[in-house]
Symmetry: C2
Subunit: 100 residues, 2 copies
């Protein structure tokens, strides 16, 4: 079991100092590189490789949240904690073409 | 408190059926749109708007993980649970230019 807050703290301990020094723009570039690797992996990768790329995208996203002081637990609880933000249902009933 | 697994289940309940029908490629396009909104928000957004965009990127990333059967808790525990994958330390000591 790992909470979103525990993961955010783990990434904070591991990388905050370096990522603060690098700044948001440079850190976002690393996120983009990992997003590209994830795309490639979704097409051609094994399950093991996908595990790794999802972890990396999550880690870079989380470190950017740390740099700008966003609490991810607060973020997802507010937006998704009460159901789909589009239709308000637990099982989304928005039209397929709509943005949820 | 919300665990990564609880969030992944919430997103599964909310969106899996629609996202399975849409497929990985189409769902990845939504992720990219949200990544673009996050970038814009990091430049020009308020704290409230950033909370929302981080939540959206996390949600789309999570729904893609659901579509391809990746457990995000397993993913991050394996990759980051024992320290930085680059240097093995809890507080990363990789050179700044290196990919952690």
């Amino acid at each position: 079991m790992m909470s979103i807050a525990q993961f955010q703290q783990l990434i904070r301990d591991m990388y905050l100092e370096k990522d603060l020094a690098r700044g948001v723009d440079g850190t976002f570039m690393w996120l983009m590189e990992e997003v590209g690797e994830l795309a490639s992996c979704l097409r051609h990768g094994t399950h093991e490789e996908r595990l790794e790329e999802f972890a990396d995208v999550l880690a870079w996203l989380t470190t950017i949240a740390n740099v700008v002081g966003v609490d991810l637990t607060e973020a997802v609880s507010r937006k998704y904690g009460l159901g789909c933000p589009g239709c308000g249902q637990v099982v989304c009933s928005c039209a397929a073409a709509e943005k949820p």
